[in-house]
Amino acid sequence: MVKLEADKEVVVLQLSNPPGNALLKPDFIEIEILNDFLKVNKAKAIIITGTSRHFCIGADINLLLNLVQEDTLKEHIEDGHKLLNYLYELNIPVFAAIEGFCFGGGLEIALSAHFRIASEKSLLAFPETIHRLMPGLSGTHALKKYFSLGQSIEFILSGRTMNAEEALNKGMVDYVVPAKSCLDFALKLAHKMTDDKPEKVINNVMIALKNTYTLSRDKALEEETRLFCELAADLNNEKIKKV
């Protein structure tokens, strides 16, 4: 279901259930397994992508309904939430490289990444309401960063697809690149951002960046200065060690 690979210190997580990489369950990988893999490889960035032509078409509805019958859906969705939170809370850059379809649970995974790179031919949607369901892995909440309430309701209730250009204009994706080049672009960008950088520098920059969503400007600036001083203190300690 999921393949993990490391390109030096950049970890690539591939959703792998071709052709659409449908999710078998919301908690598509165990956090412990992912966490261990990141540690072993000293990961400085993660790229989430799909095998084949698509990112992910979302959950397989029949399998979801099976989980309902087993009475384990809620549990799996909670674990799915934990997984997406885990990804967002990582203090290394998390990229989603989106080719083709990025629907439902797939879009929720992409939205839990920090940055999104989409192919010019990619399509994004929350089609759940067409099947008399709704986004259940924080999709409704994640849209808030990019849409007004009315726009979110329209997007979710219509179930319509959005192309990469519209998503770029809304700020929902950050880069639009030619088809089939998402993963390459993401790898280059991730390496450019993290190669030769101490992990602590990457961590503190990511923390400061995420603070801007949750803290007031004054508080975010105070934190930025504190994070800066933390790095400066580390630099001093290193110098002392060298002497």
Binding site: F115, P198, V201, A208, T212, E224, C229
Partner: protein
């Protein structure tokens, strides 16, 4: 008052803060203590319509004196943020909260905390030969005076992370395209445009 790194003056109802430690207008501890003093004694007290931040010499500013910063931090190992550094932020906060338009006029190099100072302004006008960067991560540090916050508001999280973590330099054209600056003008035309903006607000 004679200062070493900064000049503050008011002409025709417009205030001018001039970085005057050319060629690089480096922001050392003298610069920051003068800035804080000007913020408290002039910028929040004087009567004027708007503030223009400009520089003498070929450049805006090359940013902070990193060696000196590290020295300050070495001397206060037990405090999360040494007093003098929180004072630097304090000066920037006064500019951020100023309820008057601020226009920064940029030419040449605009790096690090110099760039962050320019980001305190509401408008940034740049000469064609301007270059911008937050290079701190290249030597193990990060922007520490609001650069990440301000850039995020303007260009979003991804571009901010890219600019900060790659430490890359961008030209005035690229900065304009990203919306980091408002206009590119010949050096001689910067000031009259800034005055126009302030008088129109």
């Amino acid at each position: 008052m004679i200062r070493k790194a900064l000049i503050f003056e008011i002409h025709d109802g417009i205030a001018y803060l001039t970085l005057s430690n050319p060629p690089a207008n480096q922001m050392n501890s003298v610069f920051f203590s003068e800035l804080l003093e000007i913020c408290h004694s002039d910028i929040i007290k004087e009567n004027y319509k708007g503030l223009i931040i400009r520089s003498n010499g070929r450049h805006f500013s090359s940013g902070a004196d990193v060696g000196e910063l590290l020295e300050i931090i070495r001397k206060e190992p037990d405090s999360a943020v040494p007093t003098s550094i929180s004072k630097n932020l304090n000066a920037f906060s006064i500019l951020n909260h100023l309820r008057k338009p601020i226009v920064a006029l940029i030419k040449g190099i605009c790096y690090g905390s110099g760039f962050e100072l320019a980001l305190c302004a509401n408008y940034r006008l740049a000469a064609p030969n301007s270059y911008f960067a937050l290079p701190e991560t290249a030597f193990g540090l990060m922007p520490g005076l609001g650069g990440i916050y301000a850039l995020h508001q303007m260009v979003g999280a991804a571009k901010t992370a890219e600019l900060v973590l790659t430490a890359q330099t961008i030209s005035a054209d690229e900065a304009l395209k990203l919306g980091i600056i408002n206009d590119i003008l010949l050096k001689e035309k910067l000031e009259s445009k800034a005055r126009d903006i302030i008088l129109q607000v």
